[in-house]
């Protein structure tokens, strides 16, 4: 049982570390990394709960299925979040450019 406990605690600590990083860090990539670490932590607790040493009974497949879907989803969400982070930077950058241009031009009416 010590294995289950060990991995559960690890998962919990991973979750906590991710949470802390997610809140205090501002860099979007690091936030996304933190979320990934958090999700890994949760999955670890889930799978650890299903673990049984060899020969001591069946492994519960339901958590495995849950984690499997969870991992795939977390990858796709990560991809979306990364893209969004890139877009935030690009659009604000572009925005800056356009404003520069507008400022350089003589003032026109808004419409």
């Amino acid at each position: 049982m010590i294995t289950t406990l060990l991995y559960s605690m690890t998962g919990l600590i991973l979750f906590a570390m991710g949470l802390f990083t997610l809140i205090i860090h501002s860099h979007p990539l690091r936030k996304i990394l933190a979320v990934n670490v958090m999700s890994t932590g949760v999955f670890l607790i889930l799978v650890a709960a299903a673990y049984k040493p060899l020969g001591l009974g069946k492994i519960d497949p339901v958590p495995h299925a849950m984690v499997l879907t969870g991992i795939v989803v977390s990858v796709s969400v990560t991809a979306l979040a990364l893209l969004l982070a890139c877009r935030v930077q690009e659009t604000s950058n572009l925005d800056l450019l356009e404003r520069r241009k507008q400022e350089a031009r003589p003032k026109e009416s808004n419409q």
Binding site: L12, A79, L83, C86, E90
Partner: protein, 252 residues
């Protein structure tokens, strides 16, 4: 908004020392962890689960691997929605930006090309094998799809010129293929047995394999499209001026 700004300014001088807010937060997180940890500590030795229930029904599921049985039969509805989540991620990504390809075609690196030539077919094979063996061993649509996706990423990384020309519509068909097959099979089962995804027992294995194959392709395409980071070149609506399109932010 203000909190965000504060956090940003705070984190600027992060490495000097944790400020009060962060210290309190750290304390809170530690408390939370300790609390939850102690709860896990006190939890019963043999947590209850569904292992026995699943084992009992295993023979009716049409597949030998318990994980696949849960994933595609017992909790197939979950998986259907998960596949939709994947598709959603692609739609979301496509709505954000245009795919990211270099402007001028680069001379293909022969070493890279060699690696790609060697690896990609191998990966396709592995993926097919994983899907196939999913019914009795570890493996299945997600793993196979992931390998396919990795193959796609490999091709994207080498920036094969042919990838630029991938038209949007067939790509979309490929992306939707898996979910459509899934839904189609689900509705088919609804007509047959009166339950959504209630496979008839004798054909369950084949139907599951069909779903897995379709989903593997779609998941592979999904992951590769996500890596490409946007919608394909010709996704832009026709008959419109091209200059100030949706993706004007691509290259300042």
């Amino acid at each position: 908004m203000r909190t965000e700004e504060k956090i940003i300014t705070r984190s600027r001088n992060r490495h000097k020392r944790l400020d009060a807010f962060q210290r309190i937060l750290l304390l809170l997180v530690i408390c939370l962890t300790t609390l939850l940890g102690s709860i896990i500590w006190t939890m019963p030795e043999n947590p209850p689960g569904l292992a026995d229930a699943v084992a009992l029904m295993q023979e009716h599921s049409g597949v030998k691997s318990p994980v696949t049985a849960v994933l595609l039969n017992f909790r197939g509805y979950d998986t259907l929605l998960e596949v939709m989540v994947l598709l959603l991620a692609v739609i979301g990504a496509w709505s954000l930006a245009k795919a990211h390809f270099p402007q001028q075609e680069r001379e293909a690196n022969p070493v890279q090309m060699g690696v790609v030539r060697l690896l990609v077919p191998l990966m396709f094979l592995v993926a097919a094998y994983l899907v196939w063996q999913g019914s009795h061993l570890a493996g299945g649509a997600f793993q196979g799809g992931a390998i396919l996706g990795a193959a796609g990423v490999l091709m994207l990384v080498t920036e094969l010129p042919c990838l630029r020309a991938i038209p949007a519509h067939p790509l979309r068909i490929g992306l939707v293929l898996g979910p459509l097959i899934f839904v189609g099979v689900a509705l088919f089962c609804l007509f047959l047995t009166g339950d959504l995804l209630g496979y008839p027992e004798e054909t369950a294995g084949w139907l599951i394999l069909l779903i897995e194959a379709g989903c593997a392709i779609s998941i592979g395409l999904t992951l590769a499209s996500l890596f490409a980071g946007g919608h394909p070149e010709d996704e832009r609506p026709k008959n419109q001026e091209q200059a100030k399109g949706p993706c004007k932010g691509e290259r300042p």
